[in-house]
């Protein structure tokens, strides 16, 4: 798994187009949002930054990467070895997730400095970030199952990308009160509320009900991937 992850990281950095899409664009997006940072608005801004950066840096990048590796028969090559399917997928996705975590760390640090308000509950924020990463990995695995090529990924990822960003904006702009249960159940809704709660230091009693739907989406994505994922291009 580590050798696959190391190779994938090299490929991520060496391919200029991929490097721009996976590393610079999410980072740039996060920093653009930073311009509007205020102490009061920091929790909501953090939520939007994380959801936007992870959806771009993990969801779209991982879907594109898996489709590309399948199209070039690289997945088949990896399956010719002695490592398990789980190790192969983990090796391919881990560098993307690690890069994303570093990106989010940089941008959130900058946000807390510029807004003059660090997150109230750093531990919970880390949990929220990890749950969000897991959810987007699950979605990427599922979407890769219906994606034939890297070019096709530009289309197949759009519905969920915009849906999740829509939910994020809805939650941050309207709060948790109205239709709160629905917001938590929608993909990205629970994660958004969790990030805001972690940053602002809100009520921790609802944490489990926010993490659960986020991880449930991740599990659902993995189950969907198990049914739909293909290791070789369609003949």
């Amino acid at each position: 798994m580590f050798s696959i992850a190391a190779a994938e990281l090299k490929m991520l950095v060496r391919n200029r187009l991929v490097a721009i899409c996976a590393i610079l664009m999410p980072l740039g997006l996060g920093l653009v949002f930073l311009v509007r940072g205020t102490t009061e608005g920091a929790p909501a801004l953090a939520a939007i930054q994380i959801m936007a950066m992870v959806s771009l840096g993990v969801y779209i990048t991982a879907t594109t990467t898996l489709a590309a590796r399948r199209q070039t028969l690289f997945l088949k090559r990896l399956r010719s070895g002695a490592v398990s399917d789980g190790s192969i997928i983990t090796g391919l996705v881990a560098p993307i997730v690690i890069v994303s975590i570093v990106q989010v760390g940089i941008v959130l640090t900058a946000l807390s400095v510029s807004a003059g308000a660090p997150p109230a509950n750093v531990g919970l924020l880390i949990v929220a970030l990890l749950a969000t990463e897991a959810m987007f990995v699950g979605f990427a695995l599922a979407t890769a199952g219906v994606t034939n090529s890297p070019e096709h990924a530009q289309v197949t990822t759009l519905p969920l990308f915009f849906a999740i960003l829509g939910v994020t904006v809805w939650v941050t702009f309207t709060g948790f009160g109205d239709l709160g249960w629905l917001k938590r159940l929608l993909p990205g809704g629970g994660a958004t509320e969790l990030i805001i709660t972690a940053w602002s230091g809100g009520d921790l009693s609802s944490v489990a009900s926010l993490i659960a739907p986020t991880l449930a989406w991740a599990v659902l994505g993995v189950f969907a991937a198990k049914a739909m994922f293909r290791w070789e291009p369609r003949a």
């Binding site: 050798s3 696959i4 190779a7 090299k10 490929m11 060496r14 391919n15 590796r69 070039t72 028969l73 690289f74 997945l75 088949k76 090559r77 990896l78 399956r79 010719s80 070895g81 002695a82 490592v83 398990s84």
Partner: protein, 293 residues
């Protein structure tokens, strides 16, 4: 299965939906053998090979490699080297990194410099795979398969795209591996390679194994050919099988006897046999008769 049998299929079948790609295939390959699986296009060779490699599960019958399930990556795969028909490389890794990655996931140990030298890619070690020629990629594929000297080596069209010198180099390495006891399963469209290197040959057509045996066994019933431009107005001492573009062909089940008869006749009559050639029965003939069967 005895210890001597490395690979065995019993009534193996594979279907894609309603289409039956392989039917009732039973073969055994012994340790140290080079077994060539040949066949017409769509005969089911690749499906068979991929099932033996553990990339697919049979839909009928049994397939065993080293007495176990070939899809068992933990115990069986480390004993196999697989050269795929299509490469599947990462274009942004260089040759050395690609071999090291393949080695790391193979479950076997080796020295990357030794492997690079074996496939004559030392001077390309730091070249990105995307910049290699087709032949160099084929050699890289071979390098990944032979990493750590596997007990069983699958070679799927190994010399496609290689120049004659590179082909010879590849077969030299295979010969070396065989001296170490490595078992080889080969598929190729170059029949002369199967003819030259295989201990036994299986011929597939329409998803079935139609013929199997040594080269001598397979060509035993096939006719040899004598071709020449027949002298005008002369009566030949042997029956003519065909005459195309002035080239007369005689078919024979005893090449030496009939060639002696023909040359004796030409010598006595003072006839000159232009473009004379004599060809022993070959795998080509067996293959053609199979394809038109």
């Amino acid at each position: 299965m005895t210890n001597d049998i490395v690979l065995e299929t019993q009534n193996f079948g594979y279907t894609y939906g309603d289409f039956s790609a392989v039917r009732d295939l039973s073969i055994q390959v012994r340790r140290g053998e080079l077994y060539a699986l040949l066949g017409t296009n769509g005969a089911g060779k690749t499906t068979t090979l991929e099932t033996l490699e553990g990339h697919r599960k049979p839909t009928a019958g049994k397939v065993a490699v080293f007495g176990g399930d070939p899809t068992d990556r933990k115990d069986i795969r480390p004993r196999m080297g697989i050269m795929l028909q299509e490469s599947g490389f990462a274009a942004d890794l260089n040759v050395r990194e690609s071999i090291l990655l393949a080695g790391a996931i193979s479950g076997r140990q080796d020295d990357v410099d030794r492997v690079l030298a074996a496939v004559d890619l030392v001077d390309k070690a730091t070249t990105r795979v995307g910049q290699l020629s087709g032949g160099q990629k084929r050699r890289l594929d071979f390098a990944m398969a032979i990493w750590g000297t596997p007990e069983l080596l699958f070679l799927d069209e190994p010399t496609t795209g290689l120049d004659p010198s590179a082909r010879d180099g590849l077969w030299d390495v295979v010969a070396g591996l065989r001296r170490e006891g490595v078992t080889v399963i080969l598929t190729t469209h170059y029949l002369e390679e199967a003819q030259k290197h295989a201990d036994r040959i299986g011929l597939m057509h329409g998803g079935r194994l139609e013929r199997e045996g040594t080269l001598a066994e397979l060509v035993a019933g096939e006719l040899s050919h004598i071709s020449f431009v027949a002298p005008a107005g002369s009566e030949l001492p042997l029956p003519v099988a065909s005459s195309v573009n002035g080239l007369t062909t005689i078919e024979t089940d005893d090449l030496q006897r009939d060639l002696y008869v023909l040359l004796g006749w030409a010598d006595r009559g003072g006839h000159r046999l232009e473009r004379l050639s004599a060809t022993s029965s070959s795998l080509d003939d067996v293959f053609r008769s199979l394809a038109t069967h």
